[in-house]
Subunit: 321 residues, 2 copies
Protein backbone atom coordinates (compact mmCIF):
# COMPACT_ATOMS: atom_id res chain seq x y z
CA UNK A 1 0.00 0.00 0.00
CA UNK A 2 1.49 3.34 -1.06
CA UNK A 3 0.38 6.93 -1.55
CA UNK A 4 1.21 9.56 -4.10
CA UNK A 5 1.96 13.08 -2.95
CA UNK A 6 1.98 16.07 -5.27
CA UNK A 7 3.52 19.39 -4.30
CA UNK A 8 2.09 22.08 -6.54
CA UNK A 9 4.23 25.22 -6.37
CA UNK A 10 4.19 28.45 -8.31
CA UNK A 11 7.44 27.42 -10.05
CA UNK A 12 7.65 23.61 -9.84
CA UNK A 13 5.39 20.59 -9.65
CA UNK A 14 6.91 17.73 -7.65
CA UNK A 15 5.40 14.29 -7.13
CA UNK A 16 6.50 11.32 -5.08
CA UNK A 17 5.53 7.75 -4.35
CA UNK A 18 5.49 7.49 -0.56
CA UNK A 19 5.19 4.50 1.75
CA UNK A 20 3.12 4.26 4.94
CA UNK A 21 5.96 5.57 7.09
CA UNK A 22 6.47 8.67 4.97
CA UNK A 23 9.55 7.43 3.11
CA UNK A 24 10.02 8.71 -0.43
CA UNK A 25 10.28 5.71 -2.80
CA UNK A 26 10.69 7.74 -5.99
CA UNK A 27 10.20 11.30 -7.23
CA UNK A 28 9.53 13.27 -10.39
CA UNK A 29 9.17 16.96 -11.13
CA UNK A 30 8.44 19.45 -13.87
CA UNK A 31 7.99 23.21 -14.31
CA UNK A 32 4.58 24.61 -13.36
CA UNK A 33 4.44 27.43 -15.94
CA UNK A 34 1.78 29.12 -13.86
CA UNK A 35 0.28 31.27 -16.60
CA UNK A 36 -1.13 28.23 -18.44
CA UNK A 37 -4.73 27.07 -18.32
CA UNK A 38 -5.30 25.00 -15.19
CA UNK A 39 -6.16 21.93 -17.25
CA UNK A 40 -2.66 21.85 -18.72
CA UNK A 41 -1.10 22.20 -15.28
CA UNK A 42 -3.25 19.37 -13.90
CA UNK A 43 -2.33 17.18 -16.88
CA UNK A 44 1.36 17.70 -16.01
CA UNK A 45 0.64 16.98 -12.34
CA UNK A 46 -0.85 13.65 -13.35
CA UNK A 47 2.09 12.90 -15.65
CA UNK A 48 4.52 13.68 -12.82
CA UNK A 49 2.61 11.40 -10.44
CA UNK A 50 2.65 8.56 -12.95
CA UNK A 51 6.37 9.02 -13.58
CA UNK A 52 7.14 8.90 -9.85
CA UNK A 53 5.03 5.77 -9.54
CA UNK A 54 6.80 4.16 -12.50
CA UNK A 55 10.21 5.03 -11.01
CA UNK A 56 9.18 3.45 -7.71
CA UNK A 57 8.63 0.14 -9.46
CA UNK A 58 5.15 -0.13 -7.88
CA UNK A 59 1.86 -0.59 -9.65
CA UNK A 60 -1.22 1.64 -9.68
CA UNK A 61 -3.11 -1.11 -7.87
CA UNK A 62 -0.89 -0.48 -4.84
CA UNK A 63 -1.82 3.23 -4.72
CA UNK A 64 -4.44 3.95 -2.07
CA UNK A 65 -4.91 7.66 -2.60
CA UNK A 66 -3.36 10.89 -3.88
CA UNK A 67 -2.72 14.00 -1.84
CA UNK A 68 -1.96 17.47 -3.15
CA UNK A 69 -0.41 20.45 -1.39
CA UNK A 70 -1.31 23.77 -3.01
CA UNK A 71 -0.10 27.32 -2.32
CA UNK A 72 -3.61 28.41 -1.47
CA UNK A 73 -6.91 27.40 0.07
CA UNK A 74 -8.86 24.26 -0.81
CA UNK A 75 -12.17 22.72 0.15
CA UNK A 76 -11.63 19.02 0.78
CA UNK A 77 -15.35 18.30 0.69
CA UNK A 78 -15.77 19.47 -2.88
CA UNK A 79 -12.17 18.86 -3.97
CA UNK A 80 -12.01 22.39 -5.31
CA UNK A 81 -9.29 25.00 -4.96
CA UNK A 82 -11.04 28.02 -3.50
CA UNK A 83 -8.24 30.49 -3.96
CA UNK A 84 -4.64 30.36 -5.06
CA UNK A 85 -2.95 33.72 -5.70
CA UNK A 86 0.33 32.50 -7.24
CA UNK A 87 -1.48 30.50 -9.89
CA UNK A 88 -4.36 32.91 -10.32
CA UNK A 89 -6.74 30.07 -9.48
CA UNK A 90 -10.20 30.71 -8.15
CA UNK A 91 -12.79 27.93 -7.69
CA UNK A 92 -10.88 25.32 -9.69
CA UNK A 93 -12.25 21.71 -9.70
CA UNK A 94 -8.79 20.20 -9.07
CA UNK A 95 -9.92 16.79 -7.82
CA UNK A 96 -12.33 16.25 -10.67
CA UNK A 97 -9.77 17.31 -13.26
CA UNK A 98 -7.00 15.12 -11.80
CA UNK A 99 -9.29 12.11 -11.57
CA UNK A 100 -9.67 12.24 -15.35
CA UNK A 101 -6.11 10.91 -15.43
CA UNK A 102 -5.85 8.90 -12.21
CA UNK A 103 -8.96 7.30 -10.81
CA UNK A 104 -8.10 7.30 -7.09
CA UNK A 105 -9.31 9.27 -4.06
CA UNK A 106 -7.78 12.76 -4.10
CA UNK A 107 -7.24 15.01 -1.06
CA UNK A 108 -6.14 18.63 -1.27
CA UNK A 109 -4.78 21.02 1.31
CA UNK A 110 -2.65 24.08 1.81
CA UNK A 111 1.10 23.54 1.31
CA UNK A 112 2.06 24.72 4.79
CA UNK A 113 -0.58 22.45 6.35
CA UNK A 114 0.79 19.57 4.32
CA UNK A 115 4.39 20.32 5.31
CA UNK A 116 3.32 20.51 8.95
CA UNK A 117 1.58 17.16 8.60
CA UNK A 118 4.74 15.65 7.08
CA UNK A 119 6.80 16.82 10.06
CA UNK A 120 4.19 15.42 12.43
CA UNK A 121 4.28 12.00 10.74
CA UNK A 122 7.90 11.58 9.72
CA UNK A 123 9.74 14.63 11.02
CA UNK A 124 10.59 16.68 14.07
CA UNK A 125 7.08 16.80 15.55
CA UNK A 126 6.40 13.08 15.10
CA UNK A 127 4.48 11.75 18.08
CA UNK A 128 3.29 15.17 19.25
CA UNK A 129 -0.46 15.38 19.88
CA UNK A 130 -0.50 18.94 18.53
CA UNK A 131 1.85 21.05 16.48
CA UNK A 132 1.98 24.28 14.56
CA UNK A 133 4.21 24.58 11.51
CA UNK A 134 5.38 28.01 10.42
CA UNK A 135 6.98 28.50 7.01
CA UNK A 136 9.24 31.52 6.95
CA UNK A 137 9.72 32.08 3.24
CA UNK A 138 8.62 34.66 0.67
CA UNK A 139 5.48 34.78 2.75
CA UNK A 140 4.56 33.19 6.07
CA UNK A 141 2.38 30.08 5.99
CA UNK A 142 0.96 28.02 8.79
CA UNK A 143 -0.02 24.41 9.33
CA UNK A 144 -1.95 23.12 12.34
CA UNK A 145 -2.01 19.45 13.32
CA UNK A 146 -4.32 18.32 16.15
CA UNK A 147 -4.37 14.70 17.31
CA UNK A 148 -2.50 13.66 14.18
CA UNK A 149 -4.91 15.33 11.77
CA UNK A 150 -4.58 18.57 9.86
CA UNK A 151 -6.88 21.29 11.14
CA UNK A 152 -8.09 23.46 8.32
CA UNK A 153 -11.18 24.91 9.92
CA UNK A 154 -14.87 24.95 9.18
CA UNK A 155 -14.37 26.51 5.72
CA UNK A 156 -10.82 25.45 4.87
CA UNK A 157 -9.41 28.91 5.62
CA UNK A 158 -7.73 28.17 8.98
CA UNK A 159 -4.01 28.31 9.82
CA UNK A 160 -3.32 31.43 7.78
CA UNK A 161 -0.83 32.41 10.45
CA UNK A 162 0.94 34.85 8.18
CA UNK A 163 -2.20 36.97 8.20
CA UNK A 164 -2.84 37.43 11.88
CA UNK A 165 -2.76 41.14 12.64
CA UNK A 166 0.38 41.95 14.58
CA UNK A 167 0.37 45.72 14.10
CA UNK A 168 -2.83 47.67 13.58
CA UNK A 169 -2.42 50.11 10.70
CA UNK A 170 0.98 48.52 10.14
CA UNK A 171 2.71 47.79 6.84
CA UNK A 172 0.35 47.02 3.97
CA UNK A 173 0.18 43.30 3.17
CA UNK A 174 -0.34 41.56 -0.16
CA UNK A 175 -3.63 40.24 1.24
CA UNK A 176 -5.06 43.75 1.42
CA UNK A 177 -4.90 44.02 5.20
CA UNK A 178 -2.28 45.89 7.20
CA UNK A 179 0.28 44.79 9.77
CA UNK A 180 0.03 41.05 9.08
CA UNK A 181 2.61 38.69 10.64
CA UNK A 182 3.93 38.07 7.11
CA UNK A 183 5.13 41.67 6.88
CA UNK A 184 7.43 41.17 9.87
CA UNK A 185 8.38 37.49 9.92
CA UNK A 186 8.85 36.45 6.28
CA UNK A 187 12.20 36.26 4.48
CA UNK A 188 10.89 39.17 2.42
CA UNK A 189 10.50 41.17 5.64
CA UNK A 190 14.05 40.35 6.76
CA UNK A 191 15.40 41.46 3.37
CA UNK A 192 13.40 44.70 3.56
CA UNK A 193 14.82 45.40 7.02
CA UNK A 194 18.32 44.66 5.71
CA UNK A 195 17.91 47.07 2.81
CA UNK A 196 16.56 49.80 5.06
CA UNK A 197 19.52 49.32 7.39
CA UNK A 198 22.22 49.49 4.69
CA UNK A 199 20.66 52.59 3.19
CA UNK A 200 21.74 54.37 6.36
CA UNK A 201 24.91 52.34 6.94
CA UNK A 202 26.38 51.67 3.49
CA UNK A 203 29.69 50.57 5.09
CA UNK A 204 28.06 47.38 6.43
CA UNK A 205 29.38 43.90 5.68
CA UNK A 206 25.90 43.12 4.31
CA UNK A 207 26.39 45.49 1.40
CA UNK A 208 29.99 44.35 0.84
CA UNK A 209 28.74 40.79 0.42
CA UNK A 210 25.70 41.66 -1.65
CA UNK A 211 27.35 44.20 -3.92
CA UNK A 212 24.19 46.26 -4.21
CA UNK A 213 21.02 46.63 -2.12
CA UNK A 214 18.87 44.70 -4.60
CA UNK A 215 21.11 41.66 -4.16
CA UNK A 216 20.65 41.46 -0.38
CA UNK A 217 19.19 38.10 0.56
CA UNK A 218 18.02 36.60 3.83
CA UNK A 219 21.03 34.28 3.73
CA UNK A 220 23.49 37.16 3.38
CA UNK A 221 21.99 39.01 6.35
CA UNK A 222 22.01 35.88 8.49
CA UNK A 223 25.56 34.92 7.45
CA UNK A 224 26.80 38.42 8.29
CA UNK A 225 24.98 38.30 11.63
CA UNK A 226 26.61 34.94 12.41
CA UNK A 227 29.99 36.49 11.62
CA UNK A 228 29.30 39.27 14.09
CA UNK A 229 28.64 42.22 11.78
CA UNK A 230 26.95 44.74 14.12
CA UNK A 231 24.39 46.00 11.59
CA UNK A 232 23.40 42.50 10.47
CA UNK A 233 23.17 41.42 14.11
CA UNK A 234 20.85 44.35 14.79
CA UNK A 235 18.61 43.53 11.82
CA UNK A 236 18.49 39.85 12.80
CA UNK A 237 17.75 40.81 16.39
CA UNK A 238 14.80 42.90 15.27
CA UNK A 239 13.56 40.12 13.01
CA UNK A 240 13.73 37.49 15.76
CA UNK A 241 11.92 39.89 18.13
CA UNK A 242 9.02 39.91 15.71
CA UNK A 243 9.22 36.15 15.26
CA UNK A 244 9.23 35.45 19.01
CA UNK A 245 6.21 37.72 19.38
CA UNK A 246 4.35 35.87 16.61
CA UNK A 247 5.22 32.50 18.15
CA UNK A 248 4.00 33.82 21.48
CA UNK A 249 0.61 34.62 19.94
CA UNK A 250 0.50 31.06 18.57
CA UNK A 251 1.17 29.76 22.10
CA UNK A 252 -1.50 32.00 23.63
CA UNK A 253 -4.02 30.87 21.03
CA UNK A 254 -3.41 27.17 20.70
CA UNK A 255 -0.62 26.10 23.05
CA UNK A 256 0.70 23.35 20.77
CA UNK A 257 3.13 20.72 21.96
CA UNK A 258 5.62 21.72 19.26
CA UNK A 259 6.13 24.79 17.09
CA UNK A 260 8.09 23.88 13.96
CA UNK A 261 9.96 26.52 11.96
CA UNK A 262 10.37 25.78 8.25
CA UNK A 263 10.97 27.70 5.02
CA UNK A 264 14.08 29.51 3.83
CA UNK A 265 14.78 31.38 7.06
CA UNK A 266 14.86 28.13 9.02
CA UNK A 267 18.09 27.30 7.14
CA UNK A 268 19.73 29.65 9.67
CA UNK A 269 19.50 26.61 11.93
CA UNK A 270 20.55 26.66 15.57
CA UNK A 271 21.47 30.34 15.27
CA UNK A 272 17.80 31.15 14.66
CA UNK A 273 16.55 28.72 17.27
CA UNK A 274 18.86 30.11 19.95
CA UNK A 275 17.70 33.65 19.28
CA UNK A 276 14.01 32.69 19.40
CA UNK A 277 14.38 30.54 22.51
CA UNK A 278 16.21 33.34 24.29
CA UNK A 279 13.40 35.79 23.50
CA UNK A 280 10.35 33.61 24.13
CA UNK A 281 10.37 33.99 27.95
CA UNK A 282 10.07 37.78 27.62
CA UNK A 283 6.56 37.45 26.28
CA UNK A 284 5.08 34.86 28.60
CA UNK A 285 1.96 35.76 30.57
CA UNK A 286 3.66 34.63 33.75
CA UNK A 287 7.22 33.62 34.48
CA UNK A 288 6.66 29.93 35.08
CA UNK A 289 4.24 29.50 32.19
CA UNK A 290 4.80 26.18 30.42
CA UNK A 291 4.82 26.21 26.62
CA UNK A 292 5.68 23.97 23.68
CA UNK A 293 9.17 23.48 22.36
CA UNK A 294 10.31 25.35 19.25
CA UNK A 295 12.05 23.16 16.67
CA UNK A 296 13.50 23.41 13.18
CA UNK A 297 11.84 21.48 10.35
CA UNK A 298 13.91 18.49 9.29
CA UNK A 299 12.30 17.22 6.10
CA UNK A 300 13.29 20.15 3.87
CA UNK A 301 11.81 20.20 0.38
CA UNK A 302 10.63 16.62 0.75
CA UNK A 303 7.99 17.76 3.24
CA UNK A 304 5.71 18.89 0.40
CA UNK A 305 5.32 15.50 -1.26
CA UNK A 306 5.54 13.47 1.96
CA UNK A 307 2.85 15.57 3.65
CA UNK A 308 0.60 15.51 0.58
CA UNK A 309 0.83 11.72 0.53
CA UNK A 310 0.13 11.56 4.29
CA UNK A 311 -2.96 13.69 3.67
CA UNK A 312 -4.20 10.86 1.48
CA UNK A 313 -3.33 8.32 4.14
CA UNK A 314 -4.97 10.14 7.05
CA UNK A 315 -8.04 11.56 5.37
CA UNK A 316 -8.83 8.34 3.57
CA UNK A 317 -9.08 6.66 6.97
CA UNK A 318 -11.03 9.44 8.57
CA UNK A 319 -13.89 10.83 6.58
CA UNK A 320 -15.06 12.76 9.63
CA UNK A 321 -12.69 15.60 8.81
CA UNK B 1 -27.43 11.24 36.38
CA UNK B 2 -26.55 14.87 37.10
CA UNK B 3 -23.45 17.05 37.31
CA UNK B 4 -22.42 19.85 39.59
CA UNK B 5 -20.89 22.97 38.10
CA UNK B 6 -19.01 25.54 40.14
CA UNK B 7 -18.21 29.00 38.81
CA UNK B 8 -15.37 30.44 40.87
CA UNK B 9 -15.14 34.20 40.35
CA UNK B 10 -13.08 36.89 42.00
CA UNK B 11 -16.22 38.21 43.72
CA UNK B 12 -18.72 35.35 43.85
CA UNK B 13 -18.79 31.57 43.99
CA UNK B 14 -21.80 30.07 42.20
CA UNK B 15 -22.74 26.41 42.04
CA UNK B 16 -25.48 24.56 40.23
CA UNK B 17 -26.94 21.09 39.86
CA UNK B 18 -27.18 20.53 36.11
CA UNK B 19 -28.84 17.79 34.09
CA UNK B 20 -27.44 16.05 30.99
CA UNK B 21 -28.94 18.62 28.64
CA UNK B 22 -27.39 21.55 30.45
CA UNK B 23 -30.52 22.64 32.33
CA UNK B 24 -30.00 24.25 35.72
CA UNK B 25 -31.97 22.26 38.33
CA UNK B 26 -30.96 24.41 41.32
CA UNK B 27 -28.35 27.01 42.24
CA UNK B 28 -26.53 28.43 45.24
CA UNK B 29 -23.95 31.17 45.66
CA UNK B 30 -21.78 32.92 48.21
CA UNK B 31 -19.11 35.63 48.31
CA UNK B 32 -15.58 34.56 47.36
CA UNK B 33 -13.67 36.91 49.66
CA UNK B 34 -10.60 36.43 47.53
CA UNK B 35 -8.00 37.42 50.11
CA UNK B 36 -8.70 34.35 52.27
CA UNK B 37 -6.58 31.22 52.36
CA UNK B 38 -7.48 28.98 49.44
CA UNK B 39 -8.63 26.22 51.82
CA UNK B 40 -11.39 28.42 53.16
CA UNK B 41 -12.52 29.34 49.67
CA UNK B 42 -12.59 25.69 48.62
CA UNK B 43 -14.58 24.81 51.75
CA UNK B 44 -17.19 27.39 50.70
CA UNK B 45 -17.18 26.07 47.13
CA UNK B 46 -18.03 22.63 48.49
CA UNK B 47 -20.73 24.05 50.76
CA UNK B 48 -22.25 25.89 47.78
CA UNK B 49 -22.20 22.73 45.68
CA UNK B 50 -23.91 20.75 48.44
CA UNK B 51 -26.54 23.43 48.90
CA UNK B 52 -27.34 23.50 45.18
CA UNK B 53 -27.61 19.72 45.21
CA UNK B 54 -29.90 19.80 48.24
CA UNK B 55 -32.09 22.42 46.57
CA UNK B 56 -32.35 20.27 43.46
CA UNK B 57 -33.89 17.49 45.52
CA UNK B 58 -31.37 15.01 44.09
CA UNK B 59 -28.99 12.79 46.00
CA UNK B 60 -25.19 12.65 45.93
CA UNK B 61 -25.44 9.16 44.44
CA UNK B 62 -26.89 10.75 41.29
CA UNK B 63 -23.89 13.08 40.87
CA UNK B 64 -21.45 11.80 38.25
CA UNK B 65 -18.79 14.48 38.46
CA UNK B 66 -18.00 18.07 39.39
CA UNK B 67 -16.66 20.72 37.06
CA UNK B 68 -15.11 24.03 38.03
CA UNK B 69 -14.55 27.16 35.97
CA UNK B 70 -11.76 29.36 37.30
CA UNK B 71 -10.57 32.82 36.27
CA UNK B 72 -7.12 31.45 35.44
CA UNK B 73 -5.19 28.49 34.10
CA UNK B 74 -5.56 24.91 35.31
CA UNK B 75 -3.91 21.59 34.60
CA UNK B 76 -6.62 18.96 34.28
CA UNK B 77 -4.12 16.13 34.57
CA UNK B 78 -2.98 17.11 38.04
CA UNK B 79 -6.15 18.94 39.04
CA UNK B 80 -4.09 21.92 40.07
CA UNK B 81 -4.63 25.61 39.39
CA UNK B 82 -1.45 26.78 37.73
CA UNK B 83 -2.14 30.47 37.87
CA UNK B 84 -5.03 32.68 38.88
CA UNK B 85 -4.29 36.39 39.15
CA UNK B 86 -7.58 37.60 40.69
CA UNK B 87 -7.29 35.15 43.58
CA UNK B 88 -3.53 35.32 43.89
CA UNK B 89 -3.42 31.54 43.38
CA UNK B 90 -0.34 29.81 42.11
CA UNK B 91 -0.02 26.03 41.97
CA UNK B 92 -3.06 25.30 44.14
CA UNK B 93 -4.19 21.64 44.50
CA UNK B 94 -7.85 22.53 43.90
CA UNK B 95 -9.10 19.03 42.99
CA UNK B 96 -7.43 17.38 45.96
CA UNK B 97 -8.73 20.02 48.36
CA UNK B 98 -12.31 19.88 47.02
CA UNK B 99 -12.36 16.08 47.13
CA UNK B 100 -11.85 16.31 50.90
CA UNK B 101 -15.48 17.42 50.98
CA UNK B 102 -17.01 15.73 47.93
CA UNK B 103 -15.60 12.44 46.79
CA UNK B 104 -16.37 12.63 43.07
CA UNK B 105 -14.29 13.16 39.91
CA UNK B 106 -13.36 16.85 39.58
CA UNK B 107 -12.48 18.66 36.33
CA UNK B 108 -11.15 22.21 36.18
CA UNK B 109 -10.82 24.69 33.36
CA UNK B 110 -10.66 28.35 32.52
CA UNK B 111 -13.93 30.27 32.96
CA UNK B 112 -14.08 31.47 29.35
CA UNK B 113 -13.42 27.94 28.09
CA UNK B 114 -16.20 26.69 30.34
CA UNK B 115 -18.63 29.40 29.16
CA UNK B 116 -17.78 28.57 25.55
CA UNK B 117 -18.44 24.91 26.26
CA UNK B 118 -21.82 25.79 27.80
CA UNK B 119 -22.83 27.70 24.67
CA UNK B 120 -21.69 24.79 22.51
CA UNK B 121 -23.80 22.31 24.50
CA UNK B 122 -26.89 24.29 25.45
CA UNK B 123 -26.50 27.70 23.82
CA UNK B 124 -26.02 29.56 20.56
CA UNK B 125 -23.21 27.38 19.19
CA UNK B 126 -24.95 24.08 20.00
CA UNK B 127 -24.32 21.60 17.21
CA UNK B 128 -21.32 23.44 15.78
CA UNK B 129 -18.25 21.27 15.24
CA UNK B 130 -16.01 24.14 16.28
CA UNK B 131 -16.50 27.42 18.06
CA UNK B 132 -14.57 30.21 19.68
CA UNK B 133 -16.05 32.09 22.62
CA UNK B 134 -14.83 35.59 23.36
CA UNK B 135 -15.70 37.26 26.67
CA UNK B 136 -15.64 41.02 26.40
CA UNK B 137 -15.56 42.08 30.02
CA UNK B 138 -13.04 43.67 32.38
CA UNK B 139 -10.54 41.65 30.39
CA UNK B 140 -10.88 39.55 27.27
CA UNK B 141 -11.06 35.77 27.69
CA UNK B 142 -11.29 33.03 25.11
CA UNK B 143 -12.75 29.55 24.94
CA UNK B 144 -12.11 27.09 22.12
CA UNK B 145 -14.34 24.08 21.46
CA UNK B 146 -13.29 21.54 18.83
CA UNK B 147 -15.51 18.57 17.98
CA UNK B 148 -17.52 19.16 21.13
CA UNK B 149 -14.53 19.19 23.46
CA UNK B 150 -12.75 22.12 25.06
CA UNK B 151 -9.30 22.73 23.60
CA UNK B 152 -6.94 23.94 26.28
CA UNK B 153 -3.66 23.06 24.64
CA UNK B 154 -0.70 20.90 25.48
CA UNK B 155 -0.04 22.72 28.76
CA UNK B 156 -3.46 24.15 29.60
CA UNK B 157 -2.47 27.66 28.50
CA UNK B 158 -4.35 27.81 25.18
CA UNK B 159 -7.23 30.12 24.22
CA UNK B 160 -5.81 33.18 25.95
CA UNK B 161 -7.25 35.22 23.13
CA UNK B 162 -7.07 38.44 25.12
CA UNK B 163 -3.31 38.17 25.01
CA UNK B 164 -2.62 37.82 21.32
CA UNK B 165 -0.43 40.72 20.24
CA UNK B 166 -2.47 43.10 18.14
CA UNK B 167 -0.14 46.10 18.28
CA UNK B 168 3.60 45.72 18.73
CA UNK B 169 4.85 48.13 21.37
CA UNK B 170 1.21 49.03 21.96
CA UNK B 171 -0.50 49.80 25.24
CA UNK B 172 0.98 48.00 28.26
CA UNK B 173 -1.13 45.05 29.37
CA UNK B 174 -1.71 43.67 32.87
CA UNK B 175 0.05 40.48 31.70
CA UNK B 176 3.32 42.34 31.24
CA UNK B 177 3.25 42.34 27.45
CA UNK B 178 2.26 45.22 25.23
CA UNK B 179 -0.50 45.69 22.69
CA UNK B 180 -2.59 42.67 23.70
CA UNK B 181 -6.11 42.27 22.29
CA UNK B 182 -7.43 42.89 25.81
CA UNK B 183 -6.16 46.48 25.69
CA UNK B 184 -8.37 47.23 22.68
CA UNK B 185 -11.38 44.92 22.92
CA UNK B 186 -12.29 44.71 26.63
CA UNK B 187 -14.99 46.77 28.33
CA UNK B 188 -12.11 48.43 30.16
CA UNK B 189 -10.68 49.50 26.80
CA UNK B 190 -14.02 50.91 25.65
CA UNK B 191 -14.30 52.90 28.88
CA UNK B 192 -10.74 54.21 28.46
CA UNK B 193 -11.54 55.33 24.92
CA UNK B 194 -14.72 57.01 26.18
CA UNK B 195 -12.83 58.90 28.89
CA UNK B 196 -10.16 60.03 26.43
CA UNK B 197 -12.87 61.25 24.07
CA UNK B 198 -14.81 63.28 26.65
CA UNK B 199 -11.63 64.91 27.93
CA UNK B 200 -11.50 66.68 24.58
CA UNK B 201 -15.25 66.97 24.09
CA UNK B 202 -16.73 67.66 27.54
CA UNK B 203 -20.06 68.66 25.94
CA UNK B 204 -20.75 65.06 24.93
CA UNK B 205 -23.90 63.21 25.93
CA UNK B 206 -21.60 60.57 27.47
CA UNK B 207 -20.44 63.00 30.16
CA UNK B 208 -23.98 64.35 30.70
CA UNK B 209 -25.15 60.84 31.46
CA UNK B 210 -22.15 59.82 33.54
CA UNK B 211 -21.85 63.04 35.54
CA UNK B 212 -18.08 62.73 35.72
CA UNK B 213 -15.41 60.90 33.71
CA UNK B 214 -14.81 58.29 36.42
CA UNK B 215 -18.45 57.24 36.19
CA UNK B 216 -18.33 56.47 32.46
CA UNK B 217 -19.25 52.85 31.86
CA UNK B 218 -19.36 50.67 28.78
CA UNK B 219 -23.15 50.70 29.00
CA UNK B 220 -23.32 54.50 29.01
CA UNK B 221 -21.10 54.75 25.93
CA UNK B 222 -23.10 52.13 24.08
CA UNK B 223 -26.45 53.65 25.09
CA UNK B 224 -25.31 57.08 23.90
CA UNK B 225 -24.05 55.57 20.63
CA UNK B 226 -27.42 53.87 20.12
CA UNK B 227 -29.13 57.23 20.67
CA UNK B 228 -26.94 58.77 17.98
CA UNK B 229 -24.55 60.87 20.03
CA UNK B 230 -21.74 61.61 17.54
CA UNK B 231 -18.86 61.25 20.03
CA UNK B 232 -20.19 58.00 21.48
CA UNK B 233 -20.78 56.69 17.97
CA UNK B 234 -17.18 57.51 17.09
CA UNK B 235 -15.83 55.75 20.19
CA UNK B 236 -18.02 52.72 19.55
CA UNK B 237 -16.95 52.70 15.91
CA UNK B 238 -13.30 52.63 16.92
CA UNK B 239 -13.95 49.87 19.46
CA UNK B 240 -15.79 47.68 16.94
CA UNK B 241 -12.96 48.24 14.43
CA UNK B 242 -10.58 46.67 16.92
CA UNK B 243 -13.02 43.90 17.71
CA UNK B 244 -13.58 43.03 14.04
CA UNK B 245 -9.81 42.93 13.56
CA UNK B 246 -9.39 40.58 16.54
CA UNK B 247 -12.19 38.31 15.26
CA UNK B 248 -10.53 38.34 11.88
CA UNK B 249 -7.32 37.02 13.44
CA UNK B 250 -9.37 34.27 15.12
CA UNK B 251 -10.80 33.36 11.71
CA UNK B 252 -7.37 33.35 10.07
CA UNK B 253 -5.97 31.14 12.83
CA UNK B 254 -8.72 28.63 13.46
CA UNK B 255 -11.66 29.30 11.13
CA UNK B 256 -14.32 28.15 13.61
CA UNK B 257 -17.88 27.47 12.58
CA UNK B 258 -19.16 30.01 15.11
CA UNK B 259 -17.61 32.93 16.99
CA UNK B 260 -19.63 33.69 20.13
CA UNK B 261 -19.42 37.08 21.83
CA UNK B 262 -20.08 37.09 25.57
CA UNK B 263 -19.27 39.25 28.60
CA UNK B 264 -20.61 42.68 29.54
CA UNK B 265 -20.11 44.29 26.12
CA UNK B 266 -22.23 41.61 24.46
CA UNK B 267 -25.23 43.11 26.30
CA UNK B 268 -25.14 45.74 23.52
CA UNK B 269 -26.90 43.01 21.54
CA UNK B 270 -27.80 43.38 17.89
CA UNK B 271 -26.28 46.86 17.84
CA UNK B 272 -22.86 45.29 18.49
CA UNK B 273 -23.43 42.38 16.14
CA UNK B 274 -24.49 44.65 13.27
CA UNK B 275 -21.37 46.78 13.66
CA UNK B 276 -19.06 43.76 13.75
CA UNK B 277 -20.76 42.02 10.82
CA UNK B 278 -20.54 45.18 8.75
CA UNK B 279 -16.80 45.46 9.40
CA UNK B 280 -15.73 41.82 9.06
CA UNK B 281 -15.64 41.79 5.23
CA UNK B 282 -13.07 44.61 5.23
CA UNK B 283 -10.45 42.33 6.71
CA UNK B 284 -10.96 39.18 4.67
CA UNK B 285 -8.00 37.81 2.73
CA UNK B 286 -10.13 37.68 -0.39
CA UNK B 287 -13.59 39.01 -1.15
CA UNK B 288 -15.42 35.70 -1.40
CA UNK B 289 -13.69 34.15 1.61
CA UNK B 290 -16.12 32.04 3.63
CA UNK B 291 -16.00 32.40 7.41
CA UNK B 292 -17.95 31.43 10.51
CA UNK B 293 -20.97 33.30 11.77
CA UNK B 294 -20.62 35.73 14.65
CA UNK B 295 -23.27 35.32 17.36
CA UNK B 296 -24.16 36.71 20.78
CA UNK B 297 -23.94 34.42 23.82
CA UNK B 298 -27.38 33.45 25.07
CA UNK B 299 -26.79 31.74 28.41
CA UNK B 300 -25.70 34.85 30.33
CA UNK B 301 -24.39 34.29 33.84
CA UNK B 302 -25.67 30.72 33.84
CA UNK B 303 -22.96 29.78 31.33
CA UNK B 304 -20.39 29.52 34.12
CA UNK B 305 -22.10 26.77 36.10
CA UNK B 306 -23.62 25.02 33.07
CA UNK B 307 -20.26 24.86 31.28
CA UNK B 308 -18.44 23.72 34.40
CA UNK B 309 -20.93 20.89 34.80
CA UNK B 310 -20.60 20.00 31.09
CA UNK B 311 -16.84 19.84 31.61
CA UNK B 312 -17.52 17.05 34.08
CA UNK B 313 -19.84 15.35 31.62
CA UNK B 314 -17.53 15.52 28.61
CA UNK B 315 -14.19 14.91 30.26
CA UNK B 316 -15.46 12.05 32.35
CA UNK B 317 -16.42 10.27 29.12
CA UNK B 318 -13.23 11.15 27.33
CA UNK B 319 -10.06 10.65 29.29
CA UNK B 320 -8.03 11.22 26.11
CA UNK B 321 -8.14 14.97 26.61
Amino acid sequence: MIFIGIDLGGTMIAAGAIDLKGNILAEASTATIAQRDYREIVRDMAACALKALERSGRGMDEVEALGIGIPGIADNTTGRVIFCTNLGWHEIPLREELQKYISKPVFIDNDATVAGLAESVAGVSAGAASSVFLTLGTGVGGGIVINGKPWTGAHGVASELGHLTMEMDGLPCTCGKRGCVEQYCSATALIRMGREAVSMHPDSLILQRAGKPEKISGKIIIDCAKEGDPLAAKVFDRYTDYLALAINSIVSFMDPEVIVLGGGISMAGQFLLDAVNEKMPRYLMFKTMPYGRVELAVLGNGAGIIGAAMLGMILKEDKSL
